[in-house]
Amino acid sequence: MDIKNLKNYLYWLFCQFELITCSYLMEPWEKVLFYTFNIAMLFMVLYTAYIYVSIHISTAFQFCLHLLGNQHENAVSIVK
């Protein structure tokens, strides 16, 4: 029962996507072109995210720690 609801919901979402991007109105070869372009873009974005985002997050985290660490030290020295 839940699977059927989920499937209906996903189908409804796909129909909304088709209507919003107007691929509902396109001829089949135009749809192929459009979906190929979209899926290629999506794949490239995910691939880039997979390679670079983890490195960026760890660098950013280190930078934040460094900043907070500095602040903490300054605050401590003033109190002393």
Binding site: L19, C22, S23, Y24
Partner: protein
Amino acid sequence: VEPISLFSRLYKRPFNEAFEETPMLVAVLTYVGYGVLTLFGYLRDFMRQWKIEKCQNATEREEQKDFVPLYQDFENFYTRNLYMRIRDSWNRPICSVPGAKVDMMERVSHDYNWTFTYTGRVIKDIINMGSYNYLGFAQKAGTCQEAAAKVLSQYGAGVCSTRQEMGNLDKHEELEKLVARFLGVESAMAYGMGFATNSMNIPALVGKGCLILSDELNHASLVLGARLSGATIRIFKHNNMQSLEKLLKDAIVHGQPRTRRPWKKILILVEGIYSMEGSIVRLPEVIALKKKYKSYLYLDEAHSIGALGPSGRGVVDYFGLNPEDVDIMMGTFTKSFGAAGGYIGGKKELIDYLRTYSHSAVYATSMSPPVVEQIITSVKCIMGEDGTTVGKARVQQLAENTRYFRRRLKEMGFIIYGNEDSPVVPLMLYMPAKIGAFGREMLKRNIGVVVVGFPATPIIESRARFCLSAAHTKEMLDRVSVSSGLSFAHAFYKQIQQLFFCRLVQCLVHKLLNLMFKVL
């Protein structure tokens, strides 16, 4: 808000009109849709230009390639690439009387709407939500039809002359006296075509040196008549009385543009119900302004005559006002009376003047006798003079249908424009693909609707327009609202507004801002 409260004592009943603003996300997504279609439009045009694809639309001939280009403007681009894709929702041929249910000829297209072929099958009993049949007088059986058939056998179908020459029948005189009595004016004149009534009579009433103040969303016939007359035209915002008052004040204070002479006449053009918005004119305020600034009022009751008011006498009856306050009452017989043609009602001197000077009276053929008889019978039915209460029952049924249908659609989460009491119900679709999808899906479910897109409405505000009728039953309306919900246009907007995603983004943004302020 202040000027409205000054005028609120003029209204005897609450005036509920709403034009909900387009949700931001929906507007963005609509532009995305149009952007994608534009890109594909350029691609297709490129392919047509370089002969990769067969060109099926009109182009210039080889010899005319160096002339001024005919088909390169936006309108033609839009027609070739967007309108053609969804063209099957319009010009559908019907083959029965357009009552509450209608028969339609089935047609298919094998080359994506460039050409259509008829399969020969007739789709029967489609619920008709597109015809202007407010009181249900579009019937093929009944008193109106019998009277019209009798007159047809007496007078024939054609009149073969204009009103001023040999085309003035006793039926026309009878009709005009009846219409004048129905409206509560001194005299009236009837014309064969509603569009021609506006476009041919406004030039007879105003000319150069006069000022026309016309509503933003007036019908093409009013705009054409105003432009043909040669008067100066100024536009005020839709149903906005502050804008109208400002224009009137400027007109009185500054006069004509160069010479500063006072205007010969100031004519305010408004409609009773605006058919694309479903809004009703703020008539008490317009009349108060007209009296204060001594101008004339031309009220086009094409959609509101027969459809509004406790006795079906239009927007003047709806607000409980005096018909003598409106200088020129114009209306059509197409919508609520099941016939064709238009009328103008007013003071006797005005109508006598129009009988002589109107282009329509001089050049246009007069109304056909069976049509005249249909109008006479239906007006008598609405007034109750035929001895039954059928007319009153129809007017009440229409009001009930209006309230019920609007409430149902609002509960389902659609955005509906216009006044609570208007039988014209525009349901917002916004996205171009939804225009085509809605039309097709409703036809699959045996419901015929009119969907409207770009040139008739602003580009992102496309809509489906339901015209309710007294002939619709409650279960027909239920079927229509349920089918609307299923046709993919559904409640996307309300869901987006309440969407968890948007709230989450807002919370995150707030938290981030707080964190930044703490760090710095």
